[in-house]
């Protein structure tokens, strides 16, 4: 909608990785809707605060619903949407700062509920919107405006983190390959449970990692990312953890739990098992009669 909207005043910098991600998201939700014969309005994008979250305003073509809330809280909002409307397809778009710093506390609980949503985490290793401060994925020793002597904290390994927290679908993508990324996002949406697609999405302005990811033999730079070998079994969690521990970033589907029961299904089953009786307000009041 915003392309047509002259008042919308946010623009990504030229070359920003997020351009690739927004195309991949459009492809994935468009394809999903077409395959299921479902309207695009059945999809809701829950966006975080950062350059990345603006993806929600930059969808082209038929528009999904969106909610662009506050910094770090995409997962709680998504939890409530699914509690209210399990039939909706909920997609989260958030940055590494939003999802892994201020919003970190919410990953574990959603993993344990196995909330049926798909999170696309756009990792540029930096706080873009606030102009280049260190994020949880910024490497040890990197100089930024908030780390003048080099970053003192170790970088976290997001893939390892998701796997340890028990996220039931963990994939890793890269913004320069939007087609493959769209495939992973769609697989995540089809997965019945909590899916995270962690995307390398470089920031051309504050942390340009294109070359580092791709490698440059002439300069002796080893590729910082590699495709997950075809013989990797995504059902094998230990193998996934081993992959995540690699120095370079594995790209592809790391892990998908086979017997994944999402939150809403657990509730339905528990209610059936315990034979919950629904009592009307009238009935409840009668129980309070003196």
């Amino acid at each position: 909608m915003s392309k047509r909207n002259p008042e919308y005043d946010f623009k990504w910098c030229p070359g920003c990785g997020d351009f690739g991600v927004v195309r991949a998201v459009e492809m994935a939700i468009g394809r999903r809707a077409a395959e299921r014969g479902e309207s695009i309005e059945k999809t809701v994008i829950v966006a975080g605060i950062g350059c990345s979250g603006n993806l929600v305003h930059l969808q082209e073509g038929p528009q999904p619903f969106g909610i662009h809330g506050i910094h770090g809280r995409t997962l709680p909002i998504a939890y409530g949407i699914k509690a209210g409307r399990p039939d909706l397809n909920v997609l989260i778009a958030a940055g590494d700062g939003d999802f892994l710093s201020i919003g970190m506390e919410h990953i574990g609980p959603q993993a344990k509920r196995n909330l049926d949503v798909t999170a696309v985490v756009m990792d540029n290793g930096i706080y873009g919107l606030t102009k280049g401060q260190a994020s949880p994925t910024t490497m040890l020793g990197v100089v930024t405006p908030t780390t003048p002597y080099g970053k003192l904290e170790d970088a976290i390994n997001p893939l390892e983190l998701y796997l340890t927290l028990g996220v039931s679908f963990v994939a890793s993508g890269i913004s320069t390959k939007p087609r493959e990324l769209a495939g992973l996002i769609q697989q995540g949406m089809d997965h019945p449970g909590f899916a995270i697609v962690h995307v390398q999405s470089p920031c051309t302005t504050y942390n340009d990692t294109y070359e580092a990811l791709k490698g440059n033999p002439e300069k002796g730079i080893e590729p910082g990312a590699f495709d997950i070998p075809a013989d990797h079994d995504p059902a094998d969690r230990s193998a996934a953890i081993a992959l995540a521990g690699n120095k370079a970033i594995p790209i592809g589907l790391l892990y998908q739990r086979a017997d994944s029961t999402p939150m809403q299904q657990r509730l339905t089953e528990a209610r059936a098992r315990t034979k919950v009786r629904t009592r009307s307000v009238d009935d409840l009041l009668t129980g309070l009669h003196i």
Binding site: M1, E7, D9, K42, I77, I81, G84, L285
Partner: protein
């Protein structure tokens, strides 16, 4: 004048005080008396000074009672703390095990634990206390036999044994009090029961109201004194489309109900002060993005962890402006258990009507007390539902000068619900004119809520008393005493604190002086009223306990005298 009995059971937590107070209330309510209970205890699982009070009356009850007719002191420190509140002619029952000497005056020493053991039921100490109190107030033993029947007849094989044991305990208490020869003012027979009544606590009643108004989703995090709302919902809000969840923090609760409200459902959470602080940013999101939802804040003492199990009215300013920036959240504050039902309904309805967040502001003193109230008829509840977009507005969710139809995800009118300043379709913009228009739109919607009801009496008087929330009862009692003794004073009251009913605000602005009793240091509500052009002045108290009526009578007299002094000097 009706007749009245005020009893306090005081001791160490776990000695059965609350059970005794609630049992006495239940028994008295069963035969038609009006009852109210009040309990206060420290924030710990076992022990600590705990007391519970029951008032039984032939009249409607406004407060838990200033002075005690009977004090049951279960240990020495309880005796020392509370004896000063026993009125002249009142009777003390004390746990003789805890005292080396015989106490003089109108006192009865009972070793309740040994007596309970002797009946074969060591847990019957509270029944013995109830028996003794009943005898002192000349209440027929029959009332209590009925109560024991009703309470312990559960279809178990040993029901008879349990019932007989408890009746024995009741008789032990009766006999001990009879042997003393003491009596307090006898209670008149109960009034005829005019309609079906329920005995209920504030938290349960507002939960029922919210469910009756169509609540779908409840997500909350445990915190005293709001936890019982969460557990009530866990137990009772179920069925098709209903969802209740325990969140991992109040930050998660508020985010979740924003999501649920956005998804088209009626959503609510409950918390107390510490949680409300954490919800500030999320409430701003709901205000900004125009998401209907209800946050129930059960006030305790603050700030920070404060007084977790005491009562106070010190969250009003936070409720009105829980986060940064220009906003003013609608606030409904029930003044009694009876009002909790309607407050629960109205909170949900308001959220739907104006499409935004509403705070249901209650307090420990109302949340946890039992009151007998007329049974409401759920079939008479008018449940409002937001105006839903049919797609004819296109994507313009935030258009016009006020309310615009709400697009429900999955249906037509896809937009971005945006917490950043946004244009009509929800896209972020920083244009000055848009910020002006949208800010004014958000505030204009409050007009839809200005038709709340209020109470007004003796409006000819230039001075009025206007309590809010749980201070209503004590203020009402004080008002009645003051009027009966010739003080010229008007009465104004509403549970709709923001926005105030428009006609009430006019009334308030006409007053020379509006006296506001409130349980906080700052005088929060009178400050709000002054900001609205009302000459309001607070009577404050910040002890963690509710007002006593006599205290208010004296303070109002002082306020009026000070006022006339000021006028005389002019």
């Amino acid at each position: 004048m009706g007749s009245d009995l005020v009893v306090r059971f005081a001791g160490e937590g776990g000695q059965g005080q609350v059970t005794a107070a609630e049992g006495l209330a239940q028994a008295a309510a069963q035969v038609g008396y009006h009852v109210q209970t009040f309990a206060t205890y420290p924030s710990q699982i076992e022990g600590g000074p705990t007391w519970a009070q029951t008032r039984v009356s032939t009249n409607t009850i406004l407060t838990q009672g200033d002075q005690l007719d009977v004090l049951v002191a279960l240990n020495r420190s309880a005796y020392e703390t509370h004896i000063g509140e026993l009125r002249e002619g009142g009777v003390l029952i004390y746990n003789s095990k805890d005292f080396d000497e015989q106490l003089g005056g109108l006192s009865i020493g009972l070793d309740v634990d040994s007596l309970a053991r002797a009946t074969g039921n060591p847990r019957a100490a509270n029944i013995i206390m109830i028996g003794a109190v009943a005898q002192l107030a000349s209440m027929p033993a029959d009332y209590f036999r009925q109560f024991i029947e009703a309470r312990f007849r559960r279809g178990r094989a040993n029901d008879d044994e349990i019932i007989n044991g408890n009746i024995k305990a009741l008789d032990v208490g009766f006999d001990a009090a009879a042997a003393s020869g003491y009596r307090v003012n006898p209670l008149d027979p109960p009034p005829a029961i005019d309609r079906q009544r329920v005995l209920v606590k504030g938290n349960d009643f507002l939960s029922l109201g919210a469910i009756a108004a169509g609540l779908d989703i409840f997500i909350g995090y445990p915190i005293s004194p709001a936890t019982t709302i969460l557990t009530f919902m866990e137990g009772n809000l179920n069925g098709e489309g209903k969802f209740v969840g325990q969140a991992t923090s109040e930050i998660e609760s508020i985010g979740a109900i924003v999501g649920a409200g956005y998804s088209g459902r009626k959503a609510m959470t409950s918390t107390a002060g510490p949680g409300l602080s954490l919800m500030g940013e999320g409430l701003g999101l709901a205000w900004m993005a125009e998401i209907p939802l209800v946050v129930c804040d059960v006030q305790r003492g603050g700030p920070a962890t404060g007084l977790p199990t005491k009562t106070e009215q010190s969250d009003l300013l936070t409720a009105l402006n829980p986060g940064h920036g220009d906003m003013r959240i609608p606030v409904i504050a029930p003044g009694s258990v009876e009002e909790c039902w309607q407050a629960g309904i109205d909170a949900i309805n308001w959220a739907e009507r104006y499409q935004g967040p509403v705070i249901l502001l209650t307090e420990m003193g109302v949340a946890e007390r039992n009151e007998d109230v007329p049974r409401p008829d759920p079939s008479l509840v008018v449940a409002e539902t937001r105006v839903v977009s049919d797609g004819s507005m296109g994507n313009k969710r935030y258009s016009g000068n006020g309310l615009a139809p709400f697009p429900v995800p999955g249906g037509p009118g896809a937009y971005v619900a945006n917490a950043s300043e946004h244009d009509e379709e929800g896209d972020t913009t920083h244009l000055p004119q848009v910020h002006v228009t949208q800010t004014e739109r958000r505030f204009a919607k409050l007009k839809l809520l200005e038709n709340g009801s209020y109470e007004a009496e003796h409006t000819e008087s230039p001075i009025a008393i206007m309590p809010w929330g749980g201070s209503k009862g004590a203020a009402r009692a004080a008002y009645q005493i003051l009027r009966a003794t010739g003080t010229e004073l008007g009465w104004l009251y509403t549970m709709y604190l923001n926005p105030l009913p428009a006609a009430l605000l006019e009334e308030l602005r006409r007053k020379e002086l509006v006296i506001v009793p409130e349980l906080n240091y700052l005088g929060q509500f009178s400050g709000v009223l002054r900001g609205l052009g009302v000459n309001a002045h607070s009577i404050t108290q910040y002890t963690g306990l509710p007002f006593k009526e006599q205290f208010l009578v004296e303070r109002v007299r002082e306020e009026i005298a000070a006022r006339s002094g000021r006028l005389a000097r002019v």
